[in-house]
C-alpha cells in the first residue's frame, strides 16, 4: 500500500451562510496524479487553500504529508510545491532572479532542471516579472514549482494562458515528477484534454460536494451514453445500471448515461427491452464525462 500524501475526512468550509466545500473525503497516495475537476465556484480552489494551510476548515480534518497543514514545520513545508493562477512573485524579479531567490527555500532544489526549463520556456532573457505577459508569468511560477523536487505538487489552474508548446513541456515535467518514488500530484485544471493523459485518478466536485472519485480508466470503462430508438423507462434501466442521466429526447428516443456499463448486461438488456438494433452505446472522453456530470438540467438523475 502506497504512502498517503493527502487525506481529508468530511472536510467542510463555510463562508457565512454559503457552504463552499461540503463533507469532502479525499485520499491521494504516492505515485498518483489526481485530477481535481469542477465548474467554477464548485469549491476546488477553497479545497486547495485548505490543503495549503491558507484557510481554516470549518469542519472535518485535513492531513498533508501526514500532518495538519497549519502545524507543519519547515522541512515538511519544503516538501510541498504550489502553483496557483492567482499567485505572483514580487514584480521586480526577473525569472532568473526569482530562481535564485526561490532556491534558498528548498534544499533539494534542482538547478539543472531550472536552467533547462528557463531555456524551454524562453524565460532567460526576459525582463522583470511585472512586465511579462500572462503566459510568461504562469511559466515562471510553474518553473519555480517544478524544480523544487517536492513530494507533493499542488497546482490550481497552472496551465491557463499557456500556449500549446509550453503546456506540453509542463505535462512532460509533471509526468517525470510522478515517476519519482513517493511523490504525488494534485492538479486542478479546466484543460481536460491535457488531464486525460496525465492523471490516473479524478475527483469531481459540484457545488462543494464530491460526485465522482476514482480511477479515470475505470470510469472510462464503465461510463456510456446509450441511445434507444424506442421508449425505455427509467425504472427498467435503473434496475440494471447506475443511471446518472435520463432524458426523453423525443416521442420515441431515450438517451441515458450510465456509470457501470458492461457489454453482456447491455446486450441482455437491449435484447429484452428495446431490441439490439434499437440501442447504441457511445464511450466518453473526460471532457464529455465532465459536461455530462455537471451540466445543470432536468435530465439529471440523483447520483447513487
Amino acid at each position: 500500500m502506497n504512502r498517503t500524501i493527502i487525506q481529508t475526512e468530511q472536510l467542510t468550509k463555510r463562508f457565512g451562510e454559503k457552504i463552499a466545500v461540503d463533507g469532502l473525503d479525499l485520499r491521494v497516495e504516492a505515485g498518483s496524479i489526481l485530477g481535481f475537476l469542477g465548474a467554477n465556484g464548485a469549491g476546488k480552489t477553497t479545497t486547495i487553500r485548505m490543503l495549503m494551510g491558507h484557510l481554516h476548515p470549518t469542519g472535518g480534518t485535513v492531513e498533508v504529508l501526514g500532518s495538519d497543514p497549519w502545524q507543519q514545520n519547515q522541512s515538511q513545508r519544503q516538501k510541498t510545491a504550489y502553483v496557483s493562477e492567482n499567485m505572483d512573485i514580487p514584480g521586480y524579479l526577473t525569472p532568473a532572479a526569482a530562481i535564485k531567490l526561490n532556491r534558498r527555500f528548498y534544499p533539494d532544489w534542482d538547478q539543472a532542471l531550472a536552467e533547462k526549463l528557463l531555456e524551454e520556456f524562453e524565460l532567460r532573457s526576459v525582463g522583470a516579472y511585472r512586465s511579462l505577459s500572462k503566459g510568461q508569468k504562469r511559466k515562471t511560477c510553474i518553473l519555480l514549482a517544478l524544480c523544487q523536487n517536492a513530494e507533493l505538487l499542488i497546482m490550481d489552474e497552472p496551465a491557463s494562458g499557456l500556449d500549446v508548446t509550453a503546456r506540453r513541456t509542463f505535462i512532460r515535467q509533471v509526468l517525470e515528477i510522478a515517476c519519482n518514488e513517493g511523490t504525488a500530484v494534485f492538479l486542478s485544471s479546466h484543460l481536460l484534454s491535457d488531464l486525460e493523459r496525465t492523471v490516473d485518478r479524478v475527483t469531481l466536485l459540484d457545488e462543494g460536494r464530491l460526485i465522482l472519485n476514482g480511477h479515470l480508466e475505470d470510469f472510462k470503462v464503465g461510463i456510456r451514453k446509450i441511445h434507444f430508438d424506442v421508449p425505455v423507462s427509467l425504472e427498467q434501466i435503473a434496475e440494471q445500471f447506475k443511471v446518472i442521466r435520463y432524458k426523453k429526447a423525443s416521442e420515441v428516443e431515450t438517451v441515458v448515461t450510465v456509470l457501470d456499463y458492461d457489454e453482456q448486461r447491455f446486450d441482455a438488456f437491449a435484447a429484452e427491452h428495446s431490441g439490439t438494433e434499437n440501442a447504441r452505446c457511445y464511450p466518453m472522453n473526460l471532457e464529455d464525462m465532465f459536461v455530462e456530470l455537471t451540466r445543470k438540467s432536468e435530465a439529471k438523475v440523483q447520483l447513487p
Binding site: H54, N73, Q74, N86, M87, D88, P90, Y106
Partner: protein, 222 residues
Amino acid sequence: MNKSILQIELRKILPFYITALVVIISYVLFWPKPLMAGDGIIATAGFLQGFIITWIVFRDAPAVECFLFSRGITRQRLFWNRWWLVAVLMILMLIIAAAVISAGLRCLIFVNGPWHPMVKWYELNILWPLGLASVAGVSVRLFLLLRDRFLKPDKMLSTIRRVWKYILLVAAVGSAVLLGRVIPHMEIAIDYLLIASFYVAGLLILSTATARSCFLNMEIHT
C-alpha cells in the same frame, strides 16, 4: 532563506525608509531650537514612520502574499524576520540620529547660534521621543494587523476582536496622556520618560504577541 526574505522586504521598504530617515535626520540636523525630550514634532514624525514602516513590511499585494505564504518556510519564521527587520530599522534611525548629534554636526551648522557645544549632550534627549514614539507607532500598527485580518467574518474571533479594541483604546489614551504629561514638563521629563519606556515596552510585547498570533492564524484568501 533569510537572505531571500530580506531581499524582498528591503525592496519593499527602502524607498519609504530612506525618505523617513532623510526627513527625520534633517530635522535633527537643521532644527534651530534646542532639541529636547518634549519634542512634539519628532514624536509625531517618529510615531508615523514607525507605524508606516510596520504597515509596509507586514503588508503584501494579495498575489504576492499567496506566493510568500506557500514557500517552504513557517509563518513563524516569516513573522520574526519581519519583526526584526522593523526593529533594526528603528534602532538604525536612533543610532544615526545619535551619531549626528554626538558628532557635533549641529554645532557646525549653528556655529553662530546661542547654543554652543555644551548643549549637544542634552540634545541626545531627542532620542527619547523619537524612540518611544517610533516603538509606539510600530506597536499600534501591529495591533491593527489583528483588526485587518480578523475582520473577515468568523464568529469565533469576534469576541477577541471586541476585547482587543478596548485594550487598543486604553493603549492609545494612555499613550496620549503620558506624552501629554511629558511635553509640558521637560525638566522633570526623565522620570516620566522612564515610566513611558516601561509602558511602551509593555505595549510592544503585547502587540507583538497578538500580531504573531494573528499572523500564524490568519487566512489567506488569494
